[in-house]
Symmetry: C2
Amino acid sequence: MTAPAATPSVDRHRASPFLRACRGEPGNRVPVWFMRQAGRSLPEYHEVRGSGSILDAIRVPDLAAEITLQPVRRYGVDAAILYSDIVVPVAALGFGVDVAPGIGPVVDQPFRSASDLRRLRPLEPELDTPYVLETVRILAGELSVPLIGFAGAPFTVASYLIEGRPSRTYAATKALMHTDPSLWHALMGRLADLAVASLRSQVEAGAAAVQLFDSWAGALSRPDYEEFVRPHSARVFAGVADLGVPRIHFGVVTGELLGSMAAAGADVVGVDWRVTLDDARARVGPGIALQGNLDPALCLAPWPAVQAGVRDVLARNGGHPGHVFNLGHGVLPETNPAILERVVDLVHAEGRADEAAR
Amino acid sequence: MTAPAATPSVDRHRASPFLRACRGEPGNRVPVWFMRQAGRSLPEYHEVRGSGSILDAIRVPDLAAEITLQPVRRYGVDAAILYSDIVVPVAALGFGVDVAPGIGPVVDQPFRSASDLRRLRPLEPELDTPYVLETVRILAGELSVPLIGFAGAPFTVASYLIEGRPSRTYAATKALMHTDPSLWHALMGRLADLAVASLRSQVEAGAAAVQLFDSWAGALSRPDYEEFVRPHSARVFAGVADLGVPRIHFGVVTGELLGSMAAAGADVVGVDWRVTLDDARARVGPGIALQGNLDPALCLAPWPAVQAGVRDVLARNGGHPGHVFNLGHGVLPETNPAILERVVDLVHAEGRADEAAR
């Protein structure tokens, strides 16, 4: 018997190393996957991808599913992550956002005033993003490991809509936040609704875990984060709590925010490479699993340096069962896939050794 | 009587609020200055600056001195910082570096191998950068507040020389660090020597404090920082210790490194806005002053939000005498100078109130 709320995909993979680690349960190996494991760094990706916007590729389920599967085949990672983008829901609503190659999300008419709220109606996933759900369904049938669905957290999506393009300072975003808090909260509420709708539909179609990317929340002071951001992220997590899937939360440069991000309702908190896992565990508190945190730039160094880095991450975790090995941010495009293959093998080998030693 | 090593400028300003706060001594107000207070955000700067590279402007002492003085006149800040750039010494040696408007430092032929070490001979400040010293001498005669001289820390300068341009990942820098540690340490050693020579010459010409900018050190994990970077920064601080001037150390995203950066030998540690000052003080330990840490992006918001932010910084400091108010990073170019004027007035007013209350 399974809990009523659990979905078939969660049930099917319940004993997988990845889901066990997300729940903090001991398993027979340390699971590993890599943010941005699909895509730019893989030659087989460039073979199938073609040119044009990533948003076009995402709209072709067979292609998106193939790209999602490629790193699972090559690396033997313990989880797949849907090939998609955090701006897919807002793009599907016609907000006028695209992902420019080499730049990132760009918006024709950035969010400026209350009248722009009308451009963010509720998402109807089966109508607005049917291709995402079709991709998830294909993958649920083909994958032997759990599929991670994902969404952009309200702050990070808001930053793109307001800045109009990637920013180093988030000055316009912070100005809106402090200038017009009621408009800010209205915008964040809409984006939280979008994230909930998107994540629910992905889980119902077969995703066995979800990750909420608040990639740029680390640009905020903790007081600003807790006042202007966390309530909305918390609403996203609460909105998927009944589905029974692990909820992962991640951003870079979030050392000061790890405890706050855990308190938003995450089951697993992603950690960038700046914070050691022992420090991170002290900050998130008990009962929360960690994901991370090898410096992705270290993967461009020769193998002995990478090997030492992997071992340091494992050592800092100290054998805690609630650990999903990952990089501290996405795979860099210039990464040699052969290095990541060796990282997976090393994590699996050393993880088993750790288990045997206990 | 003054200590033999103390310079005339230190002596002259010994009782200034800025130098007192750097030494952790109670004063009659909280001193304030702003990183990048000179330059881009001031209309009077654009009036005198002309076009061309910043390196050209730095080579004209009357102009560089005028630009340094402008924010002191306008804001009434408690310290001036030399109008210069951290790549001035390597540029003066003919390394082939310029500062491209809107981009930052760019290098014609990036540092790649041991043969590039020859391009970094010892700096002879009176011969290589006489214009810097002339600017400092002009300022020492004109300023009523202490002048802060500065240099780039070895890691941050190395990152420019290796990457060839500003980077988000520092991938080439980290790869060199791990691929060829002996070359890495040789490079860092040369850059430490340059920083020492430059800082000593600035103090001897009249600077009353020095700041070592390791702006991008926060991209490193703490173990990497402590192995590959800190020994060289420590050598810079040790190399100016006998001059008797406060040594300030700053980088962004350094929350995990604050204790390590203090241990490198700084008297004052700059803090970005991500870490509250009470947390920062716990990390740097007793006897170290703090500088910071209002979010520069907050200065683009309406005054009530800025005011609340300033008060929060002061409150988090809790009246500790070792506090130099500043932003958590440089003034953003689009900042309205009128806001910074009000920040200075507020810090001075509230700082006095704090003192009166004790």
